[in-house]
Symmetry: C2
Subunit: 343 residues, 2 copies
DNA sequence: TTGTATGCGTTATCAA
DNA sequence: TTGATAACGCATACAA
């Protein structure tokens, strides 16, 4: 009752191991009757082929890895959900690795995955946007890699992103249209792919509207809530912006806390728009205007690209760009939208 | 440059494969110099021992599985984060499986894991609270299992939960203290472990206060947002409760939407308290009173129990109970709390 | 300290 | 249609 393997089954059935093995593989020729006998016995003893032995033999792990900067984050948990859904449908297992936004951990994870541990990798990058030739070694090992959202531009692999530049441009223009003259841009790291592109959209929208670009209004934040609270308090006190474009959700949250704390009224004194996957943005006080990325779809698309690469010999190198949605709410419009519908 | 294995390294170094193998294992005797030579050559060729071959040989996968009902949920993503953190520190890999709250998927995942795919499993259950003897087969295979939050009472394995009964009791009493006379209890499935226990706390607190228990005030909801919107709209219209205790976060969110939609004012017309891991509960409109579970800690504790079981021969059977925190906010107190601090 | 030989559980090739 | 055998890459018992 302890360990059941193909050998034990074979003994019990007076068959060879090869015949038993055949019962579990779709293709090979085998007498339907003996196959049935084997399967029923397998069921009785709750036999499952040893995954590691199969992998070693077949050099396929039926496993993919997801590497993300963080987990407790609406965007990533939705994206992972999408990936997991596709992987499961394909009969694949999903390993998950969290870098805590530390580039070295990303490198360490990748290094460990060189050994055939996984058939493919889906990653949202933690490092800056350049110089990652080490990743090309994955290609040498024939382990496909797909990026989503946060990408390395110098790596030539399939990518799924959103129209960050356009969204950022549109959000900035929206803030200008509702009367903002001094719009701050909150960013975690300008060298990151998304930080960079989103800032460009902000920059160009200002230029387009004839508003001078002021570097003091680009606020460099961190990933730490406490630090951001201080950074933003200082920035709001010194610069007195009348609009905020937050390049990631967490910075909008911090802005809310800081404004509540300093008695700055949203949207009367300052209007806020943020990139955010928060499903309950409309329930915030005030309802937060968002640029909402299709996180789940990003995940499913990334997974599908990976499986295309896995299933075909031809190299897949698509760069898919999905559209985000700008949803103006009270925090920028001042209009108390009726929260109708079902959420 | 393609495939590097222990044999290739051995050839290049004029050594035997066993010597090369030894260089990567901590214990075995080996000349420090040759070890250094091997390691440097390994680094140059970017060699990583084949995980599947090692596993097959050692019958240890250095991998654990997490099975959860859903992913895009603050509670579970925080808990998973905790588990992943501990696993990574121990040098373990983490597989993730999402059941979408479907019991059959849970069974299917477990079945697949019988084959030695993982060394241990951490699970939050999707099924009802009884009759899961099939899980005991895992024990026969010496694959330890640890439950967190949603448990099966009839399975004798380590568990980590929160003080749900006490929290529910305290939250109900809180609602009574702020003047509620007709408190509705929102639950997804009374047969689930947590639904059951939380309802008991609610029930007993009413009894304790001399308020008659009314089955019409126990609202059976689903996992679907649209359905819940209809169920709750109907319930609020027919029963006119003046208080709500939501047993899971999602039901509080739906309640907010329904109240906004029906023009029911929170907290003037109805007061709300909810089990919730939402970090920005204080930014909602109105700020939501919560029973906040230590989700991350639940994860780390569950992982630590699993590793204890993995590392010792003695069976581990602890049931750890962590404390949740009742945080009254505007939605139940009516007091517009100053959102100070840093969030 | 190093090398030889064997087996982990599976599947593929070949022969029967 | 079935069986014997070798090999996947690694780690250990044992011999040298």
């Amino acid at each position: 009752m302890d360990r059941v393997d193909i050998k034990r089954l074979a003994e019990k059935l007076n068959l060879s191991t090869s015949t038993v093995s055949r019962a579990f593989r779709g293709n090979s020729d085998i007498n339907p009757e003996t196959k049935a006998r084997i399967l029923s016995m397998a069921k009785e003893f709750n036999y499952q082929p040893n995954h590691y032995a199969s992998n070693l033999r077949e050099k396929k792990s039926k496993t993919i890895a997801i590497i993300v900067p963080e987990l407790a984050n609406n965007f990533f948990s939705q994206a992972i959900h999408g990936i997991e859904r596709v992987a499961r449908d394909k009969g694949y297992h999903t390993l998950i690795y969290v870098t805590d936004d530390e580039y070295q951990k990303e490198v360490a994870f990748i290094d460990k995955l060189y050994n055939g541990r996984v058939d493919g990798i889906i990653m949202s990058a933690s490092g800056e946007a350049n110089d990652h030739q080490y990743l090309n070694r994955l290609g040498n090992k024939h382990i496909p890699l797909v990026f989503f959202d946060r990408v390395y531009d110098d790596i030539n692999v399939p990518k799924v992103t959103t129209d960050d530049y356009e969204s950022s441009f549109a959000a900035t223009r929206h803030l200008i249209e509702v009367g903002c003259k001094k719009i701050a841009f909150l960013v975690v790291n300008k060298s990151l792919s998304i930080g960079n592109v989103r800032m460009q959209g902000y920059h160009d929208a200002l230029k387009d509207a004839g508003i001078p670009y002021n570097t003091h209004l680009v606020i460099d934040c961190s990933n730490d809530y406490d630090e951001n609270f201080d950074i933003l308090s200082k920035a709001l006190n010194e610069q007195h912006p009348d609009g905020i474009l937050a390049s990631v959700e967490r910075l909008a949250i911090s802005s809310y806390y800081v404004c509540h704390n300093l008695g700055i009224r949203i949207p009367d004194d300052i209007k806020i728009v943020s990139f955010s996957s928060l499903e309950i943005a409309s329930l915030l006080n005030p309802a937060l205007s968002t640029i909402t990325q299709p996180a789940f779809d990003l995940g499913t698309n990334a997974a599908e690209l990976l499986f295309r690469a896995l299933e075909s010999d031809a190299p897949v190198n698509d760069h898919l760009v999905l559209s985000s949605k700008l949803i103006p709410r009270t925090s920028s419009t001042g209009v108390k939208t009726h929260i109708g519908g079902k959420g």
